[in-house]
Subunit: 195 residues, 2 copies
């Protein structure tokens, strides 16, 4: 329909998460209609990211230095928060409520898709544990796969003698009771506290 | 929070239409987690588009050739469909129901923002009219600005003697009556036809 250069760009953008053909066309038109302020800076930023960003060889987050800024920060507390993905690490950092280090698993165990422990970064996690690590926090999603992964990790970490904790489960802040699923309601009720 | 190279890329992507900080972060992570199949092809496609795509100097659509493929196509019928944007041109081409040429106005008259006729591509439209053009179809949005622009163009085109038409207004295909706005209902009723 339109020029191959436009079609190819639209197809690549349409495959990005949350986008489709219609939103990709809007984005392509916006980029082409404002080259100087949108298209050229985007190309430069993508090239910079492609050249500079690497996975930290300790915790596997994405950064321009290795070890990453967090692993290199001596003021971080001696605890490791295990997350599924860099997105989850970013969410915790944005919240600004945690001052320890991280370990990005790179996925979750999945009996359905047959994803096993060897596909996750479990060996590098065990390898970085020493007697300075005071606690390992499992911040994995509250899903079947997340909890299966958490149980597997708890089992593997038992012999280290390090304290292993999990995020609390319950009613989310701002969450209405009537729209909560039964599982969350049951957990929140069972873990109720004195007011 | 994360590396400057990641932050800058996220900010640029977040400003694209339909996106925001959250969706931009997801896109950046996807790009960085699959460089070979996503990041590298995207950079190449953006560079190709930046280098190859130009506005047609006749109709102002975006293409890699000038005159564009449509203007250069001798089999197109001798009529010009005036559209607001390249996005609207693409929508008509996708529908595959029109075989004439186009003219991209590049905007609409807006008494509110003070956008006047001199900011639109009206002079180039008048300049390309000759006695081979059989009809000018105004395919402008059914909004205050679209209809103001259509009336202005009808006035300017009156002296050419060329037939000027507008898209029909009424109930959209698949559109439920109960959710239609009053304006559309009134138009559809006034323009009713024998069944």
């Amino acid at each position: 329909m339109s020029a191959p250069a436009i079609e190819r760009l639209t197809q690549i953008i349409a495959r990005l998460p949350g986008l489709g053909p219609r939103s990709a066309r809007r984005i392509v038109l916006r980029l082409l209609s404002d080259r100087e302020h949108r298209l050229v800076p985007l190309i430069a930023a993508l090239k910079d990211a492609a050249e500079q960003v690497r996975a930290c060889s300790t915790c596997f987050t994405l950064d321009t230095s290795d070890p990453c800024t967090i692993c290199a920060d001596a003021s971080r507390e001696p605890m490791i928060c295990v997350v599924e993905s860099v997105a989850d690490l970013w969410a915790l950092e944005r919240a600004g409520i945690y001052r320890g280090r991280y370990h990005v698993l790179g996925g979750l165990l999945s009996p359905i898709t047959g994803r096993g422990p060897e596909t996750l970064r479990i060996a590098p996690l065990l390898a970085r544990l020493d007697d300075r690590v005071r606690e390992i926090i499992l911040a994995l999603p509250s899903t079947v796969e997340g909890q299966a992964s958490a149980h597997y990790l708890m089992d593997r970490l038992k012999t280290t003698g390090i304290r292993v904790t999990q995020l609390a489960q319950g009613v989310p802040v701002g969450g209405a009771i009537e729209i909560l699923d039964d599982g969350t309601l049951a957990l929140a009720l069972a873990a109720r506290r004195d007011a």
